[in-house]
Symmetry: C2
Amino acid sequence: MDIRDIAAKSGYGVGTVSRVINDQPNVSDRARERILAVMAELGYEPNSNARYLKMRSQTPVAVFVMGVGNRMFDDILGPLQAALAREGEQIVVTYLNGDVDEVRTAIDYQQARHPKGMVFLGGELESFRASFHEIETPSVLVTADASQLGFANLSSVTIDNVSAARSAVGHLLERGHRRIGIVGGNRAGGQIGELRLRGAEQALHEHGIELDYERDFEPCDFIEVGGYEATRRLLERSGDLTAVFALGDVVAFGALRAIVDRGLSVPGEVSLVGFDDTAFSQYAVPRITTVRQDAARLAERAAQLLLDALRDGSPATHELVDFELVERESVRSL
Amino acid sequence: MDIRDIAAKSGYGVGTVSRVINDQPNVSDRARERILAVMAELGYEPNSNARYLKMRSQTPVAVFVMGVGNRMFDDILGPLQAALAREGEQIVVTYLNGDVDEVRTAIDYQQARHPKGMVFLGGELESFRASFHEIETPSVLVTADASQLGFANLSSVTIDNVSAARSAVGHLLERGHRRIGIVGGNRAGGQIGELRLRGAEQALHEHGIELDYERDFEPCDFIEVGGYEATRRLLERSGDLTAVFALGDVVAFGALRAIVDRGLSVPGEVSLVGFDDTAFSQYAVPRITTVRQDAARLAERAAQLLLDALRDGSPATHELVDFELVERESVRSL
DNA sequence: TTCTCGCTTGGAAACGTTTCCAATTCCTGT
DNA sequence: ACAGGAATTGGAAACGTTTCCAAGCGAGAA
């Protein structure tokens, strides 16, 4: 069924029908009414491919979520969608679980549809350096720092991960902790993990302690089981740890369980600080001290950056949003 | 840039170029090579709108996630994407957070693009009865029961929620609990909550107890804060509760916190059982007894049903997958 | 040489829209 | 009654592909 069918049946021309469909002026009420009626009667649906073809218009903003199961991303996704929707921009999200080929395919696929813009949630972007440099679609990285990654063509909004991690570990240090284990940040070298690790190292260094990677650091993916296993190994290796810094709340969740499984209590024997301030750290028993990354604000700024680029063609920008150490119940003073 | 530009520059006709693009036979190696070279040189990218228009082909499978932040959905999404990808089907996911208008818009939008198929994750479908009846795109509901909802045109895969809930509450009953509070399932009447509630009621009934909705039931959304608030209210109202059944693990997470905040211990003073078996219940302290809903299997079956419908036009089917009560540490025998 | 047959190739038509321009109709003021 | 302008309308052209049919070509058979 065609716009021509509608035209024929309604007695008007295709031009008029098209104008009705697109809510354009210069159509008499009579015509509009009649045409709408016929469309309803025939159950007509415009063909969006033809439409997009003709309008040279683009498909909605494509959002890529790098890693499923990290609550932080869920928290960002909602506000992001809301902020974009407010300006009439639809989003289409693709979930990626890290496999390089999969990511490539997905990005290529979406790129081929010429999305208006793209948003990347999450950090394991290193392997895509090559593909990313070619991107000219307005794009923003959320939670990862494009400038540090060397993508001058992409915007990004993130917190200062190294400072944030430094303050988290600093907090532990101020409370008298000296033997601090660090868990999270995956081996492959995700940017986020790396930056947070660097912050931790700095804090330690400022207190005259050099981080012993071999002994006090255990990498893992940002997923509960990763945190659990990594912490288990860490604890096994160095029993004298008095605190654990998890590079993400999901990881902290696993860590908490691992600590308890070892017969230790939090914060009684081992203190724990997380990162992100997702629902987990707010509701866990005990409530977890963590670094708050404001998901809503991140999302909002990302949306704004994208919108700016879409509307005025604003150049790629890098933006930092504030973080905040939120003290709860999982850290004990020594 | 056009397929015609490629044709002109390569010295071949558009037909041949098109055949090269689509990897079709009947093209000499010489031609193929030359055309590929020109395409690379000019950085040509086929216009997918034109292509889809002409091929009357459809956009990828659209997945709708009804409610962001419920870990269960994340757990399903990964395997679902994987299973579909294995058969070459891409997915595009839309996140919905329950607002009726938003859902309508999103579904309309995706429908207009004529997706090959659709998948709905989650249950608050009641308000869309009208729209759903008109769907003729192969679609499957995951986690919700299409037949009970009266959508003969949709497939669905789910567990038997009422039996599962019955066994969960039965477990509590067998352990001697008599004063059981139920929390979760939202007021608006999501199917899932309703079914689980019914199962709980049955179990109680079988033990000669009639559920007092006013006193022992507190509805809430499937989100941590909902579980927290609802449980707080419940506990305030009836202090003699000896167990709480949360209609979802996320809810149980909030419930656990609320119980502890009241100075009660789990399972010492209050036992807790959840539903879903997401990472939360496995890693929580204490580990939560819950009803296992096999996310991977759910996803796999859903993918298969959809694929069948896509390939052979198999009719809508309703499928049940097994559930399992997994006993952990949050239930005490009285 | 001539015929056939199979592989390549070219290009017009079609997919379902929007857009633009020209044509028509309808008012309004004189 | 009529001119002139505004509002409405019709329909051809164009968007960038794929598809189909006809045509070209060469090689092997007769």
